[in-house]
Amino acid sequence: MKRFIGFIEKEFYHIFRDRRSLFILFGMPIAQILLFGFAITNEINNVDIAILDHSKDANTTEIISKIGSSKYFSIKQVITKEADIAAVFKKGEVKAVLNFEKDFSKNLIKEHKASVQIVTDATDPNTANTISNYVNAILQQYQKELNKDSSTPYQIVPETRMVYNPELKSVYMFVPGVMTIILMLVSAMMTSISITKEKELGTMEILLVSPIKPIQVIIGKVFPYIFLSIINAIVIVVLSIFIFNMPVQGSLFLLALESILFIVSALALGILISTISKTQQTAMMISLMGLMLPVILLSGFIFPISSMPVPLQVISSIIPAKWFILIIKGIMLKGVGIEYLWKETLILLGMTVFFIALSVKKYKIRLE
């Protein structure tokens, strides 16, 4: 036991001697969470659009001013002919063009019907669709004003209640996600080189002939990083509560325990990477290239998992980050306790044990 403590102490010294790494380690996540918490939103605002008005009458002028004053759009250009649509799209200057037909007002009065084309640059399908919906909504509102006198006979009106995030803040979606990618990647990257480095620098053989058991080496390597990651997690949670007003509806204690569990799972994954790679470079590339995009894309951080094809939903389930995001949102936003989160917790726990067991096994093989 004494030997083991000595080993842990040595590992701590190694880490704290490298001031530069420590600075990077703590400074980066803080900068990232601040940056993303303020900057990233998947709302669509201030979309640049162009107007092509063949009619230029009272109605189109009114509609254009309504569109221009909405917070969703800013009218960037007025173009005069159809051919210009392709030109502005190709330059990427605007995302949509509203094309009013000739004699708009006249048609509206005579035939009770007039039309407007919403031409969108659908290379971005999400924005195109949203623009189309927003313009539609503004026009329907305008249409209602025109039809003030006529009433519809039967009406069912939905009264919608948005729960857990009534103001539809996108920061509630992004803070848990950013927290997860930071903890996941930083933790995995920290330990992924720990054993590889000893191999590469030749100090591994010294460890191998020492009486410390493989499991002790692994725990000793992980232990200081658990400590560092916990501090990292605390900083992130404090920032999200005080700067982004993230609520913690549930138990802070549970949040702490779950965060530790997630950190340990990421560190264990790092150790596993470390035991299977020969050089630091390989270890780093596996943890960066192998983890970064899958964690961002498949964890439910940005894209809804339920919309993915079924095989990808299955793959997303083997990504620890997916479960942790569910847990954070559950505790912070829904305010649920372990009775609702036991399944997610057990899965994370299972993954952690699996990573550790596999690492110990791989490590032993090298001993023989």
Binding site: D18, R20, I24, M28, F38, A39, I40, N42, I44, I85, K90, G92, K113, A114, S115, Q117, I118, V119, A122, T123, D124, P125, A128, S132, N136, Q143, N147, S150, T152, P153, Y154, I156, V157, P158, E159, R161, M162, V163, Y164, N165, E167, K278, Q280, T282, M284, I286, L288, M289, L293, P294, L297, L298, I302, F303, P304, S306, S307, M308, G330, K334
Partner: protein, 373 residues
Amino acid sequence: MKIILYIIQKEFKQIFRNKGMLPIIFVLPLLQLIILSNAATFEIKNIKFGAIDHDHTATSRALIEKFNASTYFDVLTNYPSQEKASAAMLKGEVNVILEIPSYFQRDLQTEKYHTLGVTINAIDGAAAGVENVYVTQIIQSFNQHIKVDLLQPSDQLITTTRIETIPLFWYNETLNYKTFMVPGILVLLVTMITLFLSGMNIVREKEIGTLEQINVTPIKKSQFIIGKLFPFWVIGMGLLTVGLIIAKGIFNVPMLGSLPLMYLYTGIYILVILGIGLFISNFTDTQQQAMFIAWFFTVIFILMSGLFTPIESMPKWAQMMTAFNPIKYFVEVMRMVMLKGSGFMDILPQLLKTVLYAFIMNGLAVWSYKKST
């Protein structure tokens, strides 16, 4: 020139000798391109939907049936009570709950107006907005049907004035997300591979101690740097080529614009990334530090590139920051040239900024290399 060729040869040999690295450089990115492109969709479908029916009449059942028949909503569950439904929502089993009150049909017939409770899990605000639109659409279309079914002769049809909107989705009529995402993800993979490899490269020699040996040889620093970085430039261009073939072959992403233009831009772009990599390598002592810094910038570049979330919606200061984001320009150019067929003049602003960026980054990198050794 000969010396550079030798260094390049040596570097290539080193890369190909490391059997562990080969799959990471050549297979992993392409595998991710194929798999992850399917994941990136903002389309909201398979919404988990539940209903609480306190009315149990033909009208309430018909309304629920409407939701059931819609393609957006999935796994229809009937909950006996509000409590059961709320608990299901807390567990994440259901995302939208429709509650039909008692005497719904009777009151609707007498008063011609009724409200309905809809509860939406709004943690993902954007998805909740879309779900709300779907719910409203279904209920509106249901309204029209009751009009037809229950219209009394005394109710006169009033001609209403209608503005017809004709949505036209250019360049991607079917709103296919893969067409949009494949070029974007390809950009990320090319960037990540070239940045990580070059960022670790010189610091690795520092860490192992071989940099000093090179410094005492007659090799010039410029030769050394070019020799070091050129292989990564080739790898980046190779990755682009295979990625474009996959985009065309598997995802049927169009290539409307000029292929040489795409290569010209990418060639310059990779120089920017290699410059950044070299710069990071010069300022760090260990490979781990270099990778932490490379990771830091990559995450920022990715999330602020306009690839997943729109740049226009960011606050002004953040939009200004994106001017320094190389990935932003690459994503724009890639999508413009491939999907819209934009030509040289269309992408000239991005091209010029990238050329300028390449000069500045590589200038800084070479300058800092001299300083640090």
